[in-house]
């Protein structure tokens, strides 16, 4: 049985330009055999949902360090829902305080990866949970 290649959109929502993590993750996922589309920085929720739809991805991974995640993530999840992409696996990384995690999980963001997470743990998580 041949396994289908997992397609991932790595996205940077908001104004923050700290793209080191997003780029490292994009490369790690690619090296793990996934197809990766990287949006680049300063993406609005609309741009991200649009890109997820256009690229027909299985996974959306968002990286944010500015602290604006509680304003931006719900918007992105809402738009993904509107586009009928409820089955897409959504994960996030960056500076996300522990107390925000339950709310984000409830929104449907399944994996939240803080600083110091080994990249192979993220790869495994995506392999296990992607549709």
């Amino acid at each position: 049985m041949t396994e289908r290649t997992i397609r991932v959109l790595v996205a940077k929502p908001g104004l923050d330009g700290h793209d080191r993590g997003a780029k490292v993750i994009a490369r790690a996922l690619r090296d793990a055999g996934m197809e990766v589309v990287y949006t680049g920085i300063r993406q609005t929720p609309e741009m991200i949902a649009e890109a997820a739809l256009q690229e027909d991805v299985d996974v959306v991974g968002m990286s944010i360090l500015s602290g604006a995640h509680m304003a931006l993530f719900p918007k992105i999840m809402e738009l993904l829902g509107e586009y009928g992409m409820d089955d897409v696996l959504v994960v996030a990384g960056g500076i996300i305080p522990d107390e925000d995690v339950p709310t984000l999980n409830a929104l449907g963001i399944q994996g939240i990866f803080g600083p110091g997470t080994p990249t192979d743990r993220i790869v495994e998580f995506i392999r296990e949970h992607a549709r």
């Binding site: 908001g14 330009g17 780029k23 918007k75 110091g116």
Partner: protein, 559 residues
Amino acid sequence: MFDPKKLEALAERQKDWEEATLGDALDKHPERSDEFMTTSSEPVGRLYTPLDVADLDYERDLGFPGEYPFTRGVHATMHRGRLWTMRMFAGFGTAEETNARYKYLLDHGETGLSVAFDMPTLYGYDTDAPEALGEFGKCGVAIASLADMEILFDGIPVDEVTTSMTINGPAAVIWAMYIVMAEKRGIPPEALGGTIQNDILKEYIAQKEFIFPPEPSMRLVVDTFEYGSRHLPRWNTISISGYHIREAGSTAAQELAFTLADGLEYVRWGIERGMDVDEFAPRLSFFFNAHNDFFEEIAKYRAARRIWAREMKETFGAQNPRSWLLRFHTQTAGCSLTAQQPENNIVRTTWQALAAVLGGTQSLHTNSMDEALALPSEYAVKVALRTQQLIAHESGVANTVDPLAGSYFVEAMTNRIEEEAYAYFHKVEALGGVIPAIEKGFFQREIAEAAYRYQTEIDSHRRVIVGINEFEEDEPVRIPLLEMDPEGYERQVARLERVRRDRDGQRLEATLQALRAAARGSENTMPYILDCVRAYATLSEIMGVFREVFGEYREPTII
């Protein structure tokens, strides 16, 4: 510096030692690793001797502190004469909250101020702009008009304390707000001392807070050089920054090379404007990272001074010795901090700060232990400030000048980093210069490569990070984190609306119109920006004029 005959004999002796003493030792106890490397993945040798610095010429390569080539420091007495400025980068929420933090820091012995702005401010947007959704006050303080700036410095003697502002795209506008804030308090511009970061080139390379395309951005930078050299003789109109390049994942040598390449580019633009190099070069300042590898960092600062002095004197023919000086601020490495076991960050920050002091820094920010989790709490920032005071008064390292000079290892490393920097200068030149290299993604690719290599070293355990891939704990974090005023956003937006309502609309329009004309032409824009600020134009309005005239920049996306 060494007698060639003695070196020859020493080489023989070293060979004997390797075969006998070292050979025996390795047979009995092999080393704990096959490879030893720096934080920048550079190999580190077992032992350094005069053979590693055989060509070192004391007067040519090191000299005396306060004299060319300044390898040993920019002042004759260095920290014996005056300690570095203890300058904690701070800002969050509203101007009121940040003003209280500044007073707290000054009360606890801080000696200079450093403003962190929030994301909307950094991108030139008002707090209530649609692009600012969710970003208010998160990474720094929101400054959308002169009214905010007046509150930010309320009760702070800006003619006595110097202020550094980390602002780039809108640097000219924020600087103008600072100048007018002082003016309204009766303090003339020539009495103001401080720094605006204003280093747009590294924004394209690493920090990514660019707004306009490179050329018009550079024009605004040179406008501030020109204005500053005439009206604010105590102001550093730029802080040419390696910090963010390093945080984005570069090596120490890349940080140094890219920063100095940027610096040389600013000098070329200043000269092209028609200024004499000595007119503006003395006000150029620098900003470096202090990462984990103690000796590599010290070598980097020493190499930086030597290269800059040589380039300014030899390449640009600067006559004023002040133009040759590489004066720099240092911040310990935010990217080295761990969210896990945050107290460990106090220790990391301490030796990073120690490297900055031993490397001859003029000013220093020490990170707080909680910065991988949130903006610093009052408690955490106090510990970070105390760290500097401990180094200054108890460690003894500030009592003599450049104590590591003459260390075979440090001198060899200083030479190695200098060589790497020149190799990069040649590469950048071959690509057509700094701006073409940015447009081709050269720097961005080099940095992404280094960042990925570093991560794979951690993931594969070739590099140990305490609390991350060794000595891990499952304990939850127990330090108190900063809580911001929940009503801050409303207060800030109400103030902004009041500013828009109360100002003279006609005067506002006239000043914005005059700025638009100046931006379209080639005049220096600073006087026009100052007029807009005096008329209480908001940040979005002033930057909107430039956005309209210059357009916005989109970078090539590189993984």
